[in-house]
């Protein structure tokens, strides 16, 4: 709201003399042999921790590991402050002036939808790694966009359905009053009803700007629902969970379904408050040796005291696969058409330490397994960021929306 455009400002100050007096653009021959990746995300607002410094490090890690295979790779970054207008302006400048070939991360659904459309117009590549809305591979899909990591459908199915199966039959939703919250509530409610459960009510809280959730919690209690479904994110989820604990709701047998919970949120809540919560992830740093290695190297590069979240892993994985596709088809062809790069990425199987083996579907959905995790009790946690135990592994086909149900115009039925 009142965030100053800090990075943008710094960038503008730094770029102004370069763009004017000095020839900023690298020599033509060199530019033609350089792939530029633009990391566009939230560096200062509520989603900074699940993107921010660790995203820079993860992208850099992928570039480092990819090495030099006959072309240079550069990274630029900017803060879109979760505002679509700001995000589109930066992306436009990157595409039109700064020779950026691929924009990465995108975060907030509203920004991702807008930038994805711009990438289509300019025939560049957009890869959303921290975005929730499943519309990105549904109604709003296009041939220049890939959606990595997670989406609202997966969250609703994996964590929502698990809660119903565990005996949570009647639900009350506390929902952030904007596109993302509505989508998450809708998707989850569908699964609840399919599984034979009931939705007793919902309350939509203003976004942003809600700090106190006590009123909504009391309304949820009054509905006598067995489950309070939180269809919000970031600080809203943290405040909701903190205050649900304060009102002792869970002590009276009511479950909390935090539909979108990042490990960075758990870090902020502390295990004492977050213990027992169930959430869906596609990457957890402590799954195996490979995932541990990614997390360790990202933290080495970023120096941040912040766990590596699935969004960070997505930046690493997406950058690596993108660069492989570029190497495969040649830099000149890759720079000429983002659509061709995305097509090539879809044809190649993905393989990396963060998500293991996977594929990219026709509608732009990156397919990988999902994990249903439970937050550990404080006494179960053995070390730094040891927060989750994995309850269940869900295959990609089961976790993500079937191709035929997405209404993506690119998919021929």
């Amino acid at each position: 709201m009142s965030e100053i455009h800090r990075r943008g400002l710094l960038g503008a100050v730094a770029a102004a003399p370069l763009a004017g007096a000095l020839p900023y653009r690298p020599a033509r021959a060199q530019a033609a042999n350089t792939i530029r990746i633009g990391l566009l995300t939230d560096f200062s607002g509520p989603f900074r921790d699940l993107n921010g410094p660790n995203s820079i490090a993860a992208t850099r890690l992928a570039i480092q590991e990819f090495g030099n295979r006959g072309f240079n790779v550069e990274m630029v970054q900017a803060d879109h402050q979760n505002r679509p207008d700001v995000g589109v302006n930066i992306a436009r400048q990157w595409f039109d002036r700064d020779n950026v070939d691929m924009v990465l991360n995108l975060a907030a659904s509203s920004v991702a939808l807008a930038v994805s459309e711009l990438a289509r117009e300019r025939n560049k590549v957009a890869i959303a790694t921290s975005t929730a809305t499943s519309d990105l591979t549904g109604r709003a899909c296009n041939a220049n966009t890939i959606h990595w990591v997670y989406d609202t459908y997966m969250l609703a199915k994996v964590s929502g359905l698990a809660t119903v199966r565990a005996g949570g039959q009647s639900w009350f939703f506390i929902t952030a009053d904007y596109a993302f919250g509505h989508a998450l509530e809708r998707d989850t409610a569908n699964f609840v009803r399919q599984a034979g459960g009931r939705v007793l009510g919902q309350v939509r809280h203003p976004f942003p700007g809600t700090t106190d959730f006590s009123s909504f919690i009391v309304q949820a209690q009054a509905s006598r629902a067995q489950v309070i479904g939180l269809a919000n994110a970031g600080a809203d989820t943290i405040n909701s969970i903190k205050q649900i604990g304060e009102f002792g709701v869970t002590r009276r047998g009511v479950r909390v379904a935090s539909l979108l919970l990042f490990i960075t949120d758990v870090h902020a809540l502390g295990l004492q408050t977050a213990q027992g919560l169930v959430c869906a992830n596609t990457y957890y740093w402590d799954l195996n040796d490979r995932t541990r290695r990614v997390a360790q190297r990202v933290l080495q590069l970023s120096g941040a005291d912040m766990p590596v979240a699935m969004s960070h892993a997505g930046d690493y994985s997406a950058t690596l696969h993108y660069l492989k596709a570029v190497a495969d088809m040649g830099v000149a062809a890759a720079k000429a058409s983002g659509r061709d790069v995305v097509a090539r990425m879809k044809r190649m199987p993905t393989s990396d330490d963060a998500f293991g083996e996977g594929t990219i579907r026709e509608d732009g959905r990156k397919m990988h397994p999902a994990y249903l995790c439970e937050v550990k009790r404080p006494e179960e946690s053995r070390g730094r960021f040891d927060y989750y135990k994995v309850l269940q592994t869900v295959s990609a086909e089961e976790a993500f929306r079937p191709l035929s149900e997405g209404a993506c115009p690119m998919v021929r039925s």
């Binding site: 709201m1 009142s2 100053i4 800090r6 200062s44 607002g45 509520p46 989603f47 900074r48 921790d49 699940l50 921010g52 009053d177 309350v203 939509r204 809280h205 203003p206 942003p208 700007g209 809600t210 700090t211 106190d212 006590s214 009123s215 909504f216 009391v218 309304q219 209690q221 009054a222 970031g234 600080a235 943290i238 405040n239 903190k242 205050q243 304060e246 009102f247 002792g248 960075t264 949120d265 870090h267 902020a268 809540l269 502390g270 004492q272 408050t273 941040a304 005291d305 912040m306």
Partner: protein, 294 residues
């Protein structure tokens, strides 16, 4: 008696009570703002950041010095108040002769810088802070479960508001303060150090914000934006109550908390807007605010 406007009565009582609790925060914060504005004629936009600093100092005391909540209630306002004194001495005091707008811009900028520094250091999702053991649990009031901590917040806020009012209205220092607000030059002529009084007033206003921050730490997410979210509402409260009016800010704080609480039942989507609707209506009918002097 079972239902009022289609809402079960117990639920409605619960909401009234919760509204009152939120109102306690509004009252505490707007009180600090009103004190500062009344004395310094500065609209302190750093207030939200100082509220946040109070919560963070509480966190630091716990994690770095092992001092718990009760110490934090005492120490955090002192520490943050001291930073306020430094800000007043080095920056704000230079702007008294200029238009209000300069003070507003300066404090707004300082607030952004402080928030930026905290965000860089601690990230944006926040820090855990627990309710002190003595205040955990809840009372069964029949119509709702009332967390003990929330009850504590209301009582403390009312005591703090009363104490501030007493100091300003009933003590010698308070009378100097009020006199200096009316006519600084004359008060200075009587040998009272007005600049120092202004510095201390700013420090005290800031300390009140930090005090509210410590109270908020166990129930709200302790993050760098926590003040930015509240401060806009609190400014509306101050405007509705009448700029600089102490009684006005306290009464309006509690009242608007209740109005907001009721909106959350009848029309939750509008709950963040309702305060500004009230503000617009008050400004149209009583431009000086409900308790302000035109």
């Amino acid at each position: 008696m079972d239902e009022i406007f289609g809402i079960p009565a117990p639920l409605l009582f619960g909401q009234l009570l919760l509204g009152l609790i939120n109102g306690a925060f509004y009252a505490l914060l707007s009180l600090g703002l009103a004190v500062i504005f009344g004395m310094l004629n500065v609209i302190n936009f750093t207030h939200g950041a100082q509220f946040m600093m109070g919560a963070f100092v509480a966190w630091m005391l716990l994690n770095w010095a092992g001092l718990g909540y009760w110490w934090a209630l005492l120490v955090a306002p002192l520490v943050v108040g001291l930073t306020g004194v430094i800000i007043e001495k080095t920056m704000i005091s230079r702007l008294y002769k200029l238009d209000h707008l300069y003070g507003l811009l300066l404090t707004f900028g300082v607030g952004l810088v402080i928030e930026g520094v905290f965000r860089n250091e601690f990230g944006s999702s926040g820090m855990p802070y627990r309710i002190p053991a003595e205040l955990q649990g809840s009372w069964d009031l029949g119509f709702m479960f009332m967390p003990i901590y929330r009850g504590w917040v209301v009582i403390v806020a009312i005591v703090a508001c009363l104490a501030t009012w007493l100091v300003i209205e009933k003590t010698k220092i308070g009378s100097y303060l009020r006199a200096a607000t009316e006519n600084p030059a004359l008060v200075q002529a009587f040998g009272i150090n007005v600049p120092r009084m202004m510095t201390l007033t700013y420090g005290a206003g800031v300390a009140l914000a930090a005090f509210a921050g410590v109270l908020a730490a166990p129930i709200y997410s302790v993050n760098p934006q926590m003040g930015a979210n509240l401060i806009i509402i609190v400014f509306a409260v101050v405007v509705i109550g009448g700029m600089g009016s102490i009684l006005g800010s306290v009464v309006t704080g509690f009242t608007l908390g209740v109005i907001e609480g009721l909106t959350k039942v009848f029309w939750p989507e509008a709950s963040s807007t309702v305060i500004f609707v009230v503000m617009a209506i008050v400004l149209l009918t009583r431009p000086a605010g409900l308790f302000g002097r035109a």
